[in-house]
């Protein structure tokens, strides 16, 4: 045995021992968090995955959904389109407060059924007032009620997003088309982002989401509507699994009042641009400096 092969043998032996020791050392962790496989524990941050590694992750998420929920789904990694900056506008003059948008979000984005989870809260406001603290989300009477107006609130995809700044581990960030996303496999569930958001737009999965297999939307994306794990924060992504392939968001299509308008802010002929240029537009809590991509407007 010459020196080189002895060195190789020692390296190999050392590597084997090291790998075994590492596997052993993280074993208690996987037992402590029963929902976390060692593949997930060792998974890189979303942005650091190569195409091949991303494929492996997507297939694993699909397999886990089949195993845990009994549903065959397709999970894709859908990236932003070049030359597209998304914007959303909502007409407060026509919204009737029916919450069809919240229901559509619930179904489209595979939310937990028992909590009626949704990325949209509809605030019932008193005409003449913009006091959010006097608003109600639990109203249960025919709408629109006398002397009330309705303000649906969801993620504003802020250009200066406090939730992104608050995250201690870069598990949430703003993408090239303006959508703020979460790597649900990287999030540690500290909920700093939820506290930082002035729009109460983020949700925390206190329990494992429960959805009957036949109700699961199988058209899924890694960064949007795949079923989120327990203990992570989730948020509206403007339905990126739909909008990044040209479709309108689910909440917009569900609106019976036609109050919602979505499009590309860089397209001067788009509906969203016409609204910003020609109607009375405001952003919620402009004074906190978040620079939202979500605009409220009124009929002239």
């Amino acid at each position: 045995m010459d020196d080189t092969s002895r060195r190789t043998a020692m390296k190999l032996g050392g590597a084997t021992l090291g790998a075994a020791a590492f596997a052993r050392s993280i074993a208690p962790l996987t037992e402590w968090v029963p929902t976390l496989s060692s593949e997930e524990f060792l998974q890189k941050h979303y942005k650091e995955l190569s195409r091949e590694e991303m494929e492996t992750v997507l297939r694993r998420v699909e397999a886990m959904t089949l195993e845990e929920y009994g549903a065959e789904v397709t999970v894709q990694d859908i990236r932003p389109m070049d030359g597209v900056q998304f914007g959303y506008a909502l007409n407060l003059s026509t919204c009737v407060g029916c919450r069809k948008c919240a229901e559509a979000c619930h179904n489209e984005n595979n939310h937990d059924r028992s909590t009626n989870q949704s990325y949209i809260r509809v605030l019932e406001m008193t005409k003449g007032s913009v006091s959010l603290d006097l608003s109600s989300v639990e109203y249960d009477h025919a709408v629109p009620a006398e002397d009330k107006y309705y303000m649906p609130v969801q993620c504003h995809q802020c250009d200066n997003a406090p939730c992104v700044t608050a995250c201690p581990i870069e598990a949430t960030w703003k993408e090239a088309d303006g959508i703020v996303v979460v790597d649900y496999d990287w999030c540690i569930g500290c909920r700093y982002c939820e506290a930082a958001c002035p729009y109460h737009a983020r949700r925390f999965n206190f329990t494992k989401p429960e959805i009957p297999a036949e109700e699961i939307n199988p058209d899924q994306a890694y960064l949007s509507n795949r079923i989120r794990p327990v203990g992570v924060v989730e948020k509206c992504t403007f339905c990126l699994h739909r909008t990044r392939v040209g479709r309108l968001p689910a909440c917009l299509e569900a609106c019976p009042a036609g109050s919602r308008v979505f499009g590309n802010l860089l397209d001067p002929k788009s509906e969203i641009r016409w609204i910003i240029e020609n109607t009375r537009v405001f952003v919620l809590k402009e004074d906190v400096g978040t620079q939202p991509r979500f605009f409220y407007f009124f009929d002239s």
Binding site: S118, G246, L248, C255, S270
Partner: protein
């Protein structure tokens, strides 16, 4: 000190994509923009008889008819309506102070603007626009009326509603509905 500066620089630095080709979607081939289809009512107005599915109903009476069937210059059917008989009971007009002749041509087969311009029923939006100018302008620019399909017409078509999809012409007020999907947040303690 220098290591602290380095650490701060690292923290402040956004994490980039290890594989830059993953950052944006590959450009889609630019196709011809697809169509925006505006839903339209039938060109001819149709009146549907009340209780047309009632088995005790006189079978000789028509279940539905075009407006011109009875009102036209040469009615196809001769229907005798006794004065006072509740015939048009399913047409309740709650549209400001408007009456039939404000929108309908004399023989009821066409719609008629105040200036005499006539339209098929399928062009109802033209008629509504004569009074509802600002709303019509918002509608034309996509800020009113709702839509389905694709925001990006290079990837797929879009469908838009017309006025009477949401606002029945005779009683256009949207009315009240019961809200769906109430929130059941944990702090509300009701789940």
């Amino acid at each position: 000190m220098s290591s602290l500066v380095l650490l701060l620089a690292l923290v402040a630095c956004d994490r980039g994509y290890s594989d830059p080709s993953r950052e944006l979607a590959p450009a889609a081939p630019a196709g011809e923009p697809q169509a925006i289809t505006i839903r339209k009512p039938p060109a001819v107005g149709v009146w549907k008889a009340p209780l047309s599915d009632d088995p005790d109903r006189d079978p000789d009476l028509p279940e539905s008819a075009t407006c011109g069937t009875c009102h036209g210059p040469e009615p196809e059917l001769e229907i005798v309506v006794e004065p006072g008989e509740p015939f048009h009971t399913n047409i309740e007009v709650e549209h400001g102070t408007l009456t039939c002749d404000h929108c309908h041509d004399k023989d009821r087969t066409l719609l008629r603007e105040a200036n005499g311009t006539k339209h098929d029923f399928s062009e109802v939006a033209q008629l509504c626009a004569q009074c509802h100018g600002p709303t019509a302008k918002a509608y034309e620019n996509g800020a009113h009326g709702g839509m389905n399909g694709y925001w990006d017409l290079s990837q797929g078509p879009r469908t838009k509603n017309n006025c009477v999809d949401c606002h029945p012409a005779h009683a256009p007020d949207f009315g009240q509905v019961m809200p769906v999907h109430p929130p059941r947040d944990r702090h509300m303690g009701n789940h």
